[in-house]
Amino acid sequence: MKKLLTVSLLGLAMAAGSAQARDYDHVRFGVDVPYEPMEYRTPEGELTGFDIELGNALCEEIGVTCEWIEQEWDGIIPGLLSRKYDAIMSSMTINDERRATVLFSDPYITPPSAWFAPEDTEIDEPSTEALDGMTIGVQRGTLQDNYVTDHYGDVADISRYSTADDMVLDMEAERLDIVFLDFPVGKSTLLDSDEREYKVVGEMITEPKEYFGDGFGIAFRPRDEALAERFNEALATLKEDGTYDEIYKRYFEE
């Protein structure tokens, strides 16, 4: 009797176990559109962006088919938990608050920040000496603000703006010598500007972590550890074989 109970319990546990560790051959991604250049629609209506292309490449690597389901940002985690889709790949920053409800993959990108200055600037490389006495523009309360304040607050004048637009206006007005911005924002507002010629000064900046965070990750339901592991492995492969760099270059370099 006792044996029978054990066996049947074991069987029940196995059945439950197999129901949990579902093997996916089709993965549905939740995504909040638009957020250029991470996810947006082309004028023809086609869904594209860094997240979309990388997500598709990852699925191909794993050998599953994928589907993209649009979802507004404020309901994106509830949608995952209620099985509307199986994962979120939508520029989601990894943080502890979200870690409590979802399982994150390894970070697949840390959006870089960059220094932008007019084409004819005298600054070659941002450093304490080069920025001495310069006026630096940042958006108030952003991670860029914290970084600049701590590193160059003693030598340079820092102008803090409520919006990136105000800052760009003052850059065009020649009130600022250099600005420190999210690279994608700077690219679409300054590098693509018709008013003046701008360029990126120095390297893209993603370190240190205490300022620039853990980057963006793919979010899964906590029980789908196996699936997350497969995506992590695929991500590592794509980074090795150059596919990742190719996609990255298409969106984040001129």
Partner: protein, 244 residues
């Protein structure tokens, strides 16, 4: 100074938000606000006296432009004026090459211009009202003594008008102090700018803004006290003789 810093560091030990560094931001903010408000009030006052006299002129072509100026600056929000002067000025052709640019490039001077023009408009109207309220008897008496119009203005009308305008002008000074809080939208680090910075940095709205409010309160008290003292001195002749 060294001792002061040590004492301050000891006092702030264990306080995450009010570090010596944030207090330095507030101090810089206090200096900026005081400079901005004091200078704009001073220049505004100097501009307002002749404007108030012109405003009361009998000639339409003198009176109307001044009226138009005060009407425009009292009829539009100071924030809009500040935006127009700060962001609008760069669209003037060739401004970047002109000798004015080193001044206009800074956020301080456009803000100073906006605040000065604004307070001058209000002060003009306050003085104009006070001049108009001069009793006819005083003017007639001055005439009877053979004073010219200019001398009457200088000796009789203006001194009594200043006294009458004092309480209203005290209010204008306090309003100006409070209005200066918008300077932070054009990147000036005034008291409010410092508070916004601390708020954004530490996600602590209450601490950041209540501290700023406390500084404004202290400044307002100082201004109130100054004007009460001035009123006591200058309006002593209007006090009832009996009692105190």
């Amino acid at each position: 100074m060294e001792q002061l810093n040590q004492w301050l560091a000891g006092l702030l030990e264990g306080n995450v938000i009010f570090t010596p560094q944030t207090l330095a931001y507030y101090w810089d903010g206090l200096v900026t606000t005081t400079q901005l408000v004091f200078l704009s009030l001073l220049i505004g006052l100097i501009l307002a006296v002749p404007l108030a006299i012109l405003r009361g002129s009998k000639h339409r072509w003198i009176k109307l432009p001044v009226y138009f100026y005060t009407y425009v600056f009292r009829g539009t929000p100071l924030l809009v004026q500040l935006y127009i002067i700060y962001y609008g000025v760069v669209f003037v052709d060739g401004i970047q090459e002109s000798f004015l640019w080193p001044l206009l490039r800074e956020a301080f001077y456009p803000a100073l211009i906006a605040f000065t023009l604004n307070t001058a408009a209000y002060t003009t109207e306050i003085f104009h009202g006070a001049i108009k309220a001069t009793s006819r008897g005083e003017i007639e008496a001055a005439r009877a003594y053979g004073m010219s119009q200019a001398l009457t203005m200088r000796r009789i009308i203006l001194p009594s008008a200043f006294r009458r305008a004092l309480p209203a002008y005290g209010n204008e000074v306090i309003f100006m102090l409070h209005a200066s809080a918008i300077a932070s939208v054009v990147t000036l680090m005034d008291i409010t700018g410092a508070a916004r910075f601390v708020y954004a940095r530490y996600y602590a709205p209450f601490e950041a803004f209540i501290f700023a409010a406390a500084i404004y309160l202290c400044l307002t008290f100082a201004i109130l006290y100054l004007f009460r003292y001035l009123e006591k001195r200058l309006l002593a002749h209007l006090k009832p003789l009996s009692g105190n």
